[in-house]
């Protein structure tokens, strides 16, 4: 090709301009502006000097990064080398879902660029080493990509040792994984695209796999792949494992034509809309957050004249039947306004005088009947059990997924409980315990209050 260097330069500029991502040389002025922006927006988590020791740091999992240490997870560069400016720009612009790192779209692009200059001044790694960008190859497009080949590569490369065969973060090595800072870390649940830190798109998956995620057990596969095409087949396969969540603030119980479905796989369930609820927790020990592992629960419901039947499904990396067992509790409130009196489920019961709540409780403990119970619960120590109206349940655990039916009579066993009807919406909340993670009592994953409507 016979381009003069100045023309090439102009074309180069044009491309950079087109991508909207110029990489200007950072001047001192940028750095000073970056420092101000850092102190205003970042220091409360990452600490004033980037030591990861901001006042909010302990209350998070994963912890805010020690930016001064120079270990960066989400790169498109060789393992151990620093991220590119574009990698950092992406992190700042989109945030890191599944962690407390927010996106900074509200700051101008210029401010974000200044912040990058400042972040880079916090760690010597940017002086000592140049980023080594990895050639990610070419996207073959969804038509050319082979999921079958991708599945083969997934097995070949041993992704399943950590992520599990179905990608649910439950591989044989998963329980023992520790990050470079000595904290236990989970292998990402690949079926939850919404929870990927740095993007659930095919290209991002290729980048994660080729570059590895430094500071975590996830290694770089850049030298382990027999071809770049394989990386893309694999990424399309991983992408195909992602399940679309049905986030909603209402659970619609549908009227059963005839009897209630007998088991979780009954085709009747296809007619009941599914609502996915996000779960979270705020339990601290010596100021440090105690992470919980179940982050969402899917709820479907059908009802007849006598009872409502809930079909619950959630992902838990291991099945725990004992000490403490996996468990679920469903809470009902008679009236929407009670929400303000009761407060958030995360902090329930707030004190000894917390109002009694109507609870359906199920545990995986392997006793004779393995039943769910309806009860009125006033706080953790006092339980009034309505043994007379306990309801039969069916459960199954397979490859990282619990599926469970809980039946509850429309009418409460106790006058203080909730009697369901089609007349108005009720409030519904769920808490999930992962026994394998030592969760019991207040250490549990909680939903927000949502409406339950009998259609």
């Amino acid at each position: 090709m016979c381009l003069s260097s100045s023309i090439r330069w102009v074309i180069g500029l044009g491309i950079v301009g087109f991508l909207g991502s110029p990489t200007p040389a950072f001047s001192d002025a940028d750095l000073a502006a970056g420092k101000d922006a850092y102190e205003a927006n970042c220091a409360r988590c990452h600490g004033p000097t980037g030591a990861g020791d901001g006042p909010d740091a302990k209350r998070m999992f994963p912890k805010p990064r020690k930016l001064a240490e120079g270990i960066f997870k989400f790169r498109t560069t060789a393992s151990g080398t620093p991220p590119t400016d574009e990698d950092l720009f992406r992190t700042l612009s989109t945030g890191l879902p599944g962690s407390r790192m927010p996106d900074f779209q509200r700051l101008s692009e210029e401010t974000r660029r200044n912040l990058i200059a400042y972040v880079k001044s916090l760690s010597p790694i940017f002086k000592d080493q140049a980023p080594e960008p990895i050639d990610l190859g070419k996207d073959p497009g969804p038509k050319e990509a082979s999921l079958a080949k991708g599945k083969e590569v997934y097995a070949q490369l041993g992704c399943a040792s950590c992520h599990g065969t179905a990608g649910r973060g439950n591989g044989p090595s998963a329980p023992t994984l520790v990050d470079s800072w000595g904290s236990p870390i989970r292998a990402a649940n690949l079926t939850q695209g919404w929870n990927y830190r740095a993007g659930s798109g095919v290209k991002e998956i290729v980048a994660r796999m080729m570059a590895g995620i430094d500071g975590t057990p996830m290694p770089s596969y850049a030298d382990a792949l027999s071809s770049k095409e394989d990386a893309w087949h694999l990424a399309y396969y991983v992408h195909s494992l992602q399940e679309t969540p049905h986030w909603n603030r209402t659970i619609e119980a549908v009227k059963a034509a005839g009897s209630l479905p007998a088991d979780p796989e009954d085709p009747k369930w296809q007619e009941a809309p599914r609502t996915d609820l996000r779960l979270s927790s705020t339990v601290y020990q010596q100021g440090e957050i105690q992470p919980t592992s179940v982050n969402a629960i899917g709820v479907q419901a059908v009802y007849n004249e006598d009872a409502v039947l809930f079909r619950l499904t959630w992902q838990d990396p291991n099945e725990s039947r004992e000490d403490p067992p996996d468990a679920v509790r469903l809470f009902l409130l008679q009236d929407r306004r009670l929400k303000f009196q009761v407060g958030s489920l995360r902090s329930w019961p707030a004190g000894p005088d917390a109002p009694a709540l109507d609870v359906c409780s199920w545990s995986a403990k392997q006793d004779s009947a393995r039943e769910a119970e309806q009860m009125l619960e006033s706080n953790d120590s006092e339980i009034t059990s309505g043994a007379a109206s306990s309801s039969r349940s069916q459960d199954s655990y397979a490859d990282g997924v619990w599926t469970l039916l809980i039946k509850r009579p429309l009418k409460s066993f106790h006058p203080g409980g909730v009697t369901l009807s089609t007349k108005k919406p009720f409030l519904f909340g769920a808490v999930v315990f992962d026994g394998g993670n030592g969760e019991r009592d207040r250490r549990r994953a909680n939903s927000n209050w949502v409406d339950l409507v009998l259609k």
């Binding site: 393992s79 090595s173 994984l177 590895g212 430094d214 290694p219």
Partner: protein
Amino acid sequence: MNTSRKIMLGFLFIILGMGIANPAFAAGATVSGKVSFEGAAPSREKIKMAADPVCLGAHKDPVLSEDLVVNNGALQNVVVYMKDGLSGKTFPAPTTPVVIDQAGCQYHPHVFGIQVGQPLEIRNSDATLHNINAQPKLNKRFNIAQPTKGMKTTKTFDKVEIPVPFKCNVHPWMAAHAVVLDHPFFGVTGENGSFTLNGLPAGTYTVEAWHEKLGTQTAQVTVADGETKTVNFSFKAK
């Protein structure tokens, strides 16, 4: 010392260093000795390999932890090296690699010395995934996957660092340690706890012994050309 003399001296040392690297030039001094463990040897834990059937299937007998190995009072897996006494001298990095092999889901060797710039060849002899997660503080970190049997990767270290830890996250019991030095005077104690450092330039040295669990010990020694001196170390349970 004026600059020209410094340059002259440096030049001399380079020549000396080259002489040592060349086995035909077997002059120099020797420091050798034994590393022992005082007190009752702790029993070695059995490693549970059940998480990976490939690892489990590779062993007939139970595999024992390697982080503290004592045989009749002799302490194995101690790296002994010259810590001080060689400053100003440079030693070209050997081109022959140090090989670390992953076989039976264990690192072979478990500890080793390596020179700055010397290639480290990492091999996987198992039909299962290992990730080699090296987390040095001064050198470049890396965490790479070796999913197939027969795979080889070469890495080098460019700074002196004691130690550089290696681990595999797939098999949490797998750990290895490298001692990275800028000279070739190091050895690792075997079953009998002994080491030999030969071909040393005459001089006064600080010898250091490093153990992954027990830490370090040092000793001073002065050797003349052609002389052999003995330095012994003794570690206690921490």
